[in-house]
């Protein structure tokens, strides 16, 4: 059975859990990272020299990098749907995965740490607001794209929705100011109807 190593509160682990939920793929999961520690243990570093989560083990194949794990599982179990066959659709989906990694995430992380992982009396509200504005600018880019597309890469859910869907849950769940982004809201409402999203993403943030 597929094994996933990493705490289920990690957004990067959640990408893989949500993908497994959509694929109806059984897995076993082992807690590691955050309050569970273990990132620096030699036996974990042997699997993943970065010490981050998740790492997946599929038979004897060991893989890390959350977006690559998501792609791999989708390509293996859902070619043509979650992992589009059409190269332009796939390119579109993978573009938004890369964009979450390199552009969106650096603007979400300071807001998330400030609002979720820092006690109210210790929050640097000016720094949080500066990051929130950048985060909002990125949500606006998604909103513009979703004006012409039901999901991030067309009429159906693909791997392109997974990383940003988790970002959207955090955007809508944190106690922050939110500009109204109607297309993102419409898309997010669709995600919230999905059992796999409800089970693995719509949980208390930690």
């Amino acid at each position: 059975m597929l094994k996933i190593i990493g705490r289920d509160t990690s957004s990067n682990v959640q990408k893989v859990l949500w993908a497994c939920g959509e694929l109806k793929l059984p897995f076993e999961r082992e807690d590691l990272g955050g309050p569970f520690g273990g990132n620096d243990k030699p036996e974990y570093r042997a699997l993943n020299p970065n010490g981050k989560v998740p790492t997946i083990i599929d038979e004897d194949f060991i893989l890390w990098e959350s977006n690559s794990c998501t792609r791999y599982l989708a390509a293996k179990h859902a070619p043509g749907t979650l992992y589009p066959d059409d190269l332009e659709s796939r390119g579109n989906a993978e573009r938004w995965m890369d964009w979450q990694l390199a552009t969106m995430s650096p603007t979400l992380v300071p807001v998330f740490w400030g609002m979720v992982r820092t006690a109210p009396e210790d929050r640097d509200l000016d720094a949080i607001e500066a990051s929130r504005k950048k985060l909002s600018t990125n949500i606006a880019i998604m909103d513009n794209h979703l004006a012409n597309s039901t999901y991030m890469a067309g009429d159906n859910l693909t791997v392109g929705d997974i990383p940003l869907g988790i970002t959207a849950y955090r955007w809508f769940s944190m106690d922050i100011e939110r500009e109204p982004y109607h297309n993102v809201q419409r898309w997010y409402d669709l995600l919230c109807e999905r059992p796999a999203f409800q089970e693995h993403i719509m949980n208390p943030m930690a």
Partner: protein, 206 residues
């Protein structure tokens, strides 16, 4: 097919090197930094991030350099540059993502500090931290390359492209103290034998 972006950009170089390896014909249009263009409304409509490269292929427009490399590799290098075997493909994908989220951000401080900042404006602490981070990241890559000629097996694939560009930049700095990384150096030597790498990547630091 048109590629928009200045040839000195590491992200544009990914696409140019990929096209040369796969014998893809294209026309090139300079944009970014000294060339401007990215500030125009027309560019914003193509890429709201105002960054290069952008690929234009008929009606299809794609940005995010790694997503462009993946798409071109799948279209023109199926089974070779774009591995058909899903585990080999995941290995390639993983190191592309790792460049985007780990190696690239770690390297930015030393590159901007040593290449783009005037000597009197340099933040030496930030530069030294970035050098140490990059050295540590490249040790991870070196460990992986102990068991693999290229990133995803015995031949060059798309997985070698993003990190190959960073290898050039790391070794192109003069007077930099580097710990020896024999596997990385062996792999990098094989890249330097490739005409496409010499033409599009080994073009100086700018």
């Amino acid at each position: 097919m048109k590629i928009v972006g200045r040839k000195s950009s590491s992200n544009v170089q990914k696409v140019l090197w990929c096209c040369a390896e796969l014998d893809i014909e294209y026309e090139c249009e300079d944009a970014g930094r000294e060339f401007g263009v990215v500030d125009t409304d027309a560019f914003f409509r193509m890429n709201p991030n105002r960054r290069v490269p952008v690929l234009i292929d008929g009606d299809f427009i794609l940005w995010e350099s790694n997503a462009i490399v993946r798409m071109l590799s799948a279209k023109y290098g199926m089974g070779s540059f774009f591995p058909e075997n899903l585990q080999a493909r995941a290995n390639a994908d993983r190191w592309m993502d790792w460049q985007l989220a780990t190696l690239g951000p770690g390297f930015t401080g030393m590159f901007h500090g040593l290449i783009r900042d005037k000597p009197e404006n340099r933040n030496l602490d930030a530069i030294n931290k970035s050098i140490a981070t990059t050295q540590a990241n490249l040790e991870i890559l070196d460990g992986y390359l102990a068991n693999s000629a290229f990133i995803a097996g015995d031949e060059l694939t798309m997985g070698d492209i993003p990190i190959g560009i960073y290898a050039y930049r790391w070794y192109a700095f003069e007077d930099l103290e580097r710990k020896p990384l024999p596997n990385l150096e062996r792999w990098y030597a094989s890249l330097q034998e490739r005409p496409a790498f010499r033409e599009f990547v080994m073009v100086g630091l700018g």
